[in-house]
């Protein structure tokens, strides 16, 4: 039996879409990876990106530190009236967002296109 299957490596891929940026997050955002996600979001916020869409389809796990990283990104974006939007979370992650009531803080979309189209 292998131990390596639980914590799938975190990868992040940035794609520019008009005035928005899609940050595709894949793998697990565990306690030791959350800092990387926060750094990436802070970097995008520092570039005054108007809309950051987190495409979460491939993200299989996130802990509270990872949620905190997204909130920090949201707060930094607000300095320039920017927004963080969440797209395509897996059922377990969506449930986590609902349990923490972060669905009140973030708009959640069923597709990246829908998140991009929202005015």
């Amino acid at each position: 039996m292998t131990n390596s299957s639980h914590n799938t490596p975190l990868t992040m891929d940035v794609t520019k879409r008009g005035n928005a940026v899609v940050l595709t997050v894949t793998g697990s955002v565990s306690m030791s990876d959350a800092e990387n996600l926060q750094e990436k979001l802070e970097q995008l916020a520092a570039e005054r990106t108007p809309i950051i869409i987190l495409d979460l389809k491939g993200m299989d796990f996130i802990c509270s530190v990872g949620l905190g990283a997204i909130i920090v990104g949201h707060l930094k974006c607000r300095h320039h009236a920017g927004q963080v939007r969440l797209a395509r979370p897996a059922a377990s992650v969506r449930e986590l967002l609902e349990t923490t009531r972060l669905t009140k803080l973030f708009d959640i979309y069923d597709s990246v296109e829908e998140a991009l189209a929202k005015k």
Partner: protein, 141 residues
Amino acid sequence: MIDKSIPTDLTAARRLTEEILSLTVASGYNEDDRFAIRLSLEEALINAIKHGNNFEPAKKVRVSADVGAKQTTITVCDEGAGFNPASVPDPTTDENLEKPSGRGIMLMRAYMDEVSYNDHGNEVRMTKRRCTGLPHLAGHN
């Protein structure tokens, strides 16, 4: 049964988390139960390393995990001064939603069936009862 002391270190915590999760896989826990156990274990370890031991490398975190056929019980104990879990603000209220931290205890309580602290406030014990929809019983429900 796992009973280990690990250094106050995220890499060691991650390794131990993997070890415990492997036991839940071997015992046939379903994906939802494994997610709940993983999340709660990570939250307990984060609290122990960050708030309990203040990242002090000389301090240890003691973890025991009993992954059984019917339930999993995990205990995480740090060497910190302890705290009163009742004093932690509810992170789901409107005024706390934008706080980047403070969700760990609430998540443990939401995802585990039982969560309790010792009197000193430096040890959390939590139990997850296995989902009743056991694969081998599915046809009998």
